[in-house]
């Protein structure tokens, strides 16, 4: 059994139990043991990086230190957490001067970043630790009637120089994992473009216009749903459709669903075990189609 420290971050446990539930259930079924460590904090995502980059690196490094002390690699669900932690991990492992600066800050809390652990997104764990064959063999309910618009979110892929997850312009990993469940991963316009989520709260009009584009493009391509990995993308596109309805007087009813939920459903987890009532755009029709 492969063991990981689960880094949950802030948004998933506080707002999206459907993501956490489905991810825990699916990963456990596929032989991954998840350990919840005490002391982890916020990952220090873009809003905190905007306030102070150096502090943000230290906050990310402090979280990695906790995994180092427990001798575990980290797995994240949220792509935002993945970006903050993986970026810090790579930078500090490869830039000794920066590592020294951050370790000076960490010493105030009696911590030291050593740089002997990996930060991985759960898609990497699925690809590399579980393997496509095992996933395909574990599928009980094939999703072969679904056309899925994959939307990984920006921070799974970029900045690719530090995250090293997949080709930033022609990524394949997410689509491959969708197709492992026998669903069709479809192409749609501006597939790799941002959802605008990080502008929510500062420039809501701009954020909503960007989110609307995403929904329109997936809709015109005939998608049954948009599959997400990031809780912020989910919120922006799911709750966003309620705002699109009031602002633009348009209704798309495009189900937004985390990949972990699709995975759980195809592995045979019952919908009632998955807290699906946390979806604003109802996914009943999607569930009917899955069967």
């Amino acid at each position: 059994m492969t063991v990981y420290a689960l880094f949950l971050g802030c948004t998933i446990p506080a707002r999206q139990p459907h993501y956490e539930l489905s991810a825990r259930k699916a990963l456990t079924k596929l032989g991954i043991e998840l350990v919840d460590l005490e002391g982890m904090t916020c990952c220090a995502p873009p809003p905190l990086q905007s306030i102070d980059l150096e502090t943000s690196l230290a906050i990310a490094a402090n979280n990695i230190c906790i995994a180092e002390e427990a001798d575990l690699n980290i797995v994240t669900l949220c792509t935002g957490c993945f970006e903050s932690l993986a970026m810090a991990n790579t930078l500090l492992k490869e830039k000794p001067e920066l590592k020294a600066r951050v370790n000076k800050i960490l010493s105030s809390a009696g911590k030291e970043f050593k740089g002997n652990k990996e930060v991985r997104h759960y898609l990497q764990v699925l690809m590399e630790d579980v393997g496509l064959n095992r996933i395909k063999q574990s599928v009980i309910k094939p999703l072969n009637k679904l056309k899925v618009a994959a939307f990984s979110g920006c921070h799974l892929l970029r900045p690719s120089e530090l995250l090293r997850f997949d080709d930033p312009e022609r990524p394949r990993i997410f689509d491959t994992l969708i197709e492992a469940l026998e669903a069709k991963s479809i192409w749609y316009k501006n597939k790799l473009k941002c959802c605008g989520g990080l502008l929510r709260g500062y420039a809501d009009d701009v954020a909503l216009a960007i989110a609307r584009d995403k929904i329109v493009n997936a809709s015109s391509a005939g998608a049954d749903c948009i599959a997400t990995l990031c809780p912020f993308c989910f919120l922006t596109l799911d709750l966003g459709q309620m705002l699109i309805k009031t602002t633009y007087k348009e209704e798309y009813n495009m189900p937004i669903i985390h990949y972990a939920e699709l995975l759980s459903l195809s592995l045979g987890v019952e919908p009632k075990e998955l807290a699906l009532d946390f979806h604003k755009v109802k996914i009943d029709k999607l569930l009917e189609k899955i069967g």
């Binding site: 802030c10 306030i51 900045p159």
Partner: protein
């Protein structure tokens, strides 16, 4: 003549200030090709933000304009521009450096101040409600492990992050 010289001094000082900040190191590599602007999802929607212009103004030494005209807060941090920049300007990181400078002078948008306050008090930027705690238990999710608030506070005080607070009524 005197005015011209004054302008040059300002220019030199601002780009040096930016390149000395974490994230800002590569700003001077820019040759204004505009690949960033054409890759930007925000610039497609609104003319209030154009990454090429932000960099141009910064390199021209328009410190006040760059830090206060609101554009730097409209970057969605998607890194599309940075990924494609032929000069390897780390554009999204340059924007962070500019935001860091603006915020260190008390120019902090409300939404960021809210996140900072939540971080300082809870260790998380999205605190968990009683309702969600109960929901988690109902669904059989384990209780959320306590955040390491004591260590975090020491780190935030070591960098002075805990002193960064918005000046009332001055949020952009």
């Amino acid at each position: 003549m005197a005015e011209e010289r004054q302008e040059k001094v300002t220019t030199v000082e601002f780009y040096k200030e930016i390149t000395s900040k974490l994230g800002g190191e590569t700003i001077t590599f820019c040759y204004q090709c505009g690949t960033c602007a054409s890759s930007c999802p925000v610039a497609k929607i609104t003319d209030r933000f154009n990454p090429r212009q932000v960099i141009r103004l910064a390199l021209l030494g328009q410190r006040e304009e760059v830090l206060t005209n609101g554009a730097i807060w409209l970057c969605s941090s998607c890194y599309n521009c940075q990924e494609r920049c032929p000069q390897k300007v780390e554009i999204a990181d340059v924007i962070y450096a500019l935001r860091n400078i603006a915020i260190s002078e008390g120019n902090i948008p409300n939404i960021y101040a809210e996140f900072a306050n939540a971080l300082l008090s809870e260790g998380r930027i999205v605190p968990i409600s009683k309702f969600l705690e109960k929901k988690r238990a109902d669904y059989g999710l384990p209780p959320l492990k306590p955040a390491g608030i004591e260590s975090l506070k020491k780190i935030l005080s070591a960098t002075g992050f805990d002193k960064i607070m918005p000046k009332k009524g001055e949020s952009p």
